[in-house]
């Protein structure tokens, strides 16, 4: 069953990667530092009054702290008003589609003019086993500004969850399952472990096939004039559908090394090169959970659209002991 996201428009997109040849963030730099730079560029350029932003959400599996939410730190750094809904969501592979869904709900239900959706990951800070694909994942931060619109076309969003494979993409550590006592008695946690990404390639590929069918992607991609943005393994799906995928869909596999942000990078590239006034899009994401989502939406091609590089880190956030 689809859900319908109405009265919403994407007003700006911004993306920031580390300014390093490896694509890895510098030592002190976090995902929120990258997302902060992306958001700042939008706010500075569009002269948005802080009071007009009613909510900020930060989607990531690599937040600054276990507590409080990194969205709070970003509120301070972006000098937003206290009249704000702010929280973190633990979402990585589906962050683009999920961010828009949650942002939409906060925008339409509250007295807010804009909602700022920030997301980012620093996979380079984790420990990896010998998995080539996960080793190639790059660090990034991204920002999406959404606003209300009476005239915009509604968005359509479908989800497919297979939680029986919840451990097929798993970062152990940093939580409280199978926790160990730290010190003599308490606390029990694995917080000191930055985590190791375990990716069960077979189960993840099987899931992509299941999701592709379940979400009805094959019929949706035949819609004339539609553009695709996706972090799916498109080559695999093409093989499975006897090479029946359209050329446009095959082109969508640009750079999956940005995981959940791949759709946004692809979208920003499309906006930069398109001569169309409006773009019709299908965003197909998959990620941990396992969860896949399919979002169809329209976007104006003259919106704010930034790609940045930065190595700046928030040194004030490096706090200890006597705070």
């Amino acid at each position: 069953m689809s859900c319908k996201l109405e009265y919403i428009e994407i007003e700006a997109l911004s993306f920031c990667i580390p300014d390093t040849s490896s694509g890895k963030a510098v030592k002190e730099q976090t995902a929120s530092d990258l997302a902060f730079q992306a958001a700042l560029k939008i706010l500075e350029t569009d002269n948005i009054v802080p009071e007009e932003i009613g909510a900020i959400i930060f989607l990531s599996s690599t937040p600054d702290y276990r507590s409080p939410a990194t969205a709070m730190v970003l509120q301070k750094r972006l000098e937003l008003s206290l009249d704000l809904i702010a929280f973190d969501v633990n979402s990585s592979g589906n962050a683009f589609n999920q961010g828009i869904q949650i942002g939409h709900s906060l925008l339409n239900s509250s007295n807010s003019r804009y909602v700022l959706i920030l997301y980012g990951e620093t996979p380079s800070k984790r420990i990896y086993f010998d998995d080539k694909e996960s080793k190639s994942l790059r660090d990034y931060g991204a920002a999406i500004l959404i606003g209300g619109s009476e005239s915009g076309k509604s968005m359509q969003l479908d989800f497919f969850t297979n939680s029986k494979s919840w451990d097929a993409i798993l970062v152990k550590g940093g939580g409280y399952k199978n926790a160990k006592p730290q010190g003599e008695e308490l606390p029990y946690s694995n917080l000191n472990d930055p985590g190791t990404l375990h990716l069960d390639k077979n189960r993840v590929e099987d899931f992509q096939i299941q999701a592709f069918k379940n979400l009805g992607v094959l019929s949706k991609i035949k819609t004339p004039g539609i553009h695709f943005i996706s972090n799916f393994n498109v080559k695999l799906l093409n093989e499975l559908t006897s090479n029946s995928l359209t050329e446009e869909f095959l082109k969508s596999e640009l750079s999956n090394e940005y995981a959940g942000a791949t759709p946004q990078i692809q979208l920003q590239d499309l906006i930069n090169t398109s001569k169309e006034h409006k773009l019709n899009l299908l965003s197909i994401n998959y990620g941990e959970g396992l969860l896949a989502s399919c979002l169809s939406f329209e976007i104006k091609s003259n919106i704010l659209n930034f790609s940045l590089k930065s190595n700046l880190a928030y040194l004030e956030g490096d706090i200890s002991h006597d705070l």
């Binding site: 276990r66 409080p68 730190v73 206290l82 990585s92 939680s163 409280y176 010190g183 706090i319 705070l323």
Partner: protein
């Protein structure tokens, strides 16, 4: 003040699960001494706290509360389209524990899941998030909001201000989209300018690689950067000024007074703070139900615990108007008002069950 409003969302069920054991504050006498224990009890009103087993997680308590709710209220699971888990004590960094919960509840595949990282304001923020999300779904669609915490697991053992204060529990709240329902109103504020007021400095991706060894801080308490620290006076000031200020502003906005509510279900910070709320808001103390005396401060789960404690054994279907307020780390605070049918609030269950 950021506000939101709904007139098509019904709170259709609420269930709370506590661990089977509690710990008496008096049992800390060997660690903190008689005098400190007496002072603590007088100031906070906490006599005992609910305590999860070391191997029991917040999601375990949330699953038990959810199972109880789905079974006792005979919920059509195919209608559940959203599972949101609010906690500061998730199972892993990735994926969200909401998927783990979804799996153990055997829910349908057309359901979106995620975790929200918030503390004591989490129930109200979570309620608003799922109510807002349900707007884009069909009538009769349902959402499951699970809040749970095992706060003790990030506290330094000899931190007397914290380790005797916090309790562990989980809850499940079912929301349903209908054509018409009594209004639910919300008000929100966030103050990230004071994000250091309650913080676990290390353990995520800022301040990586800090030593595990505990050293003495200026308040003479041994802590590491993986232990949660609260700036007591700063948080106290916030709790007795900013929190009632938002509640007052919210009541003015709604054009209501404390007399319009049967119950004030407040975050169970400590007894003194709740008394101050009563005084500043002119709310009779009898309308502020206490659970912290028996279970302590239960973080995001305080409000569900209050509701289940007072209404959980009620057999009648009276529909009191309830005022709620949650406040804590962030700093983050929020108020809500809702009409809740007593009959859908279940008796508290206790469990030590764990899930793999």
């Amino acid at each position: 003040m950021r506000t939101s409003h709904y007139d098509n969302i019904r709170i259709a069920g609420l269930s709370v699960c506590l661990p089977e054991q509690t710990r008496e504050v008096d049992s800390y006498v060997q660690v903190f001494g008689k005098e400190n224990i007496a002072k603590f009890k007088k100031m906070t009103g906490v006599n005992s706290v609910s305590r999860a087993l070391p191997e029991q997680t917040a999601s375990d308590l949330g699953i038990e509360a959810s199972k109880n709710l789905l079974e006792k209220l005979d919920v059509d699971k195919s209608k559940i389209k959203i599972v949101v888990f609010v906690s500061q004590k998730p199972n892993f960094r990735l994926p969200s524990s909401a998927y783990f919960i979804h799996n153990h509840l055997d829910l349908n595949s057309d359901c979106v899941c995620f975790d929200i990282n918030l503390a004591c304001s989490g129930f109200i923020y979570g309620l608003n998030t799922v109510a807002g999300m349900l707007q884009s779904y069909d009538i009769e669609s349902k959402a499951l909001l699970v809040t749970a915490d095992t706060s003790i697991k990030s506290l330094a053992p000899n931190d007397r201000t914290m380790s005797m204060l916090f309790g562990d529990s989980g809850s499940a709240c079912l929301l349903s989209k209908t054509y018409e329902a009594p209004e639910i109103n919300f008000a929100f504020k966030s103050d990230g300018y004071r994000f250091k007021s309650i913080i676990t400095p290390a353990g995520a991706y800022r301040n990586m690689g800090k030593p595990l060894e505990r050293v003495k801080w200026s308040d003479d308490i041994l802590r590491s950067d993986y232990d949660t620290h609260m700036k007591g006076m700063e948080v106290f000031g916030f709790s007795i000024s900013d929190v009632p200020a938002l509640a007052k502003e919210f009541l003015q906005y709604l054009d209501k007074t404390p007399e319009d509510y049967e119950l004030f279900a407040l975050h169970q910070a400590n007894k003194y703070i709740l008394k101050q709320f009563s005084r500043k808001m002119n709310v009779p103390i009898g309308k502020i139900h206490l659970v912290l005396d028996r279970y302590g401060n239960n973080s995001s789960n305080s409000i569900p615990l209050v509701l289940a404690d007072i209404y959980g054994e009620s057999q009648n279907d009276a529909t009191p108007n309830v005022f709620m307020s949650g406040f804590g780390a962030g700093l983050s605070w929020a108020c809500a008002e809702a009409v809740i049918n007593k009959k859908i609030i279940l008796e508290i269950v206790k469990s030590n069950r764990t899930y793999e």
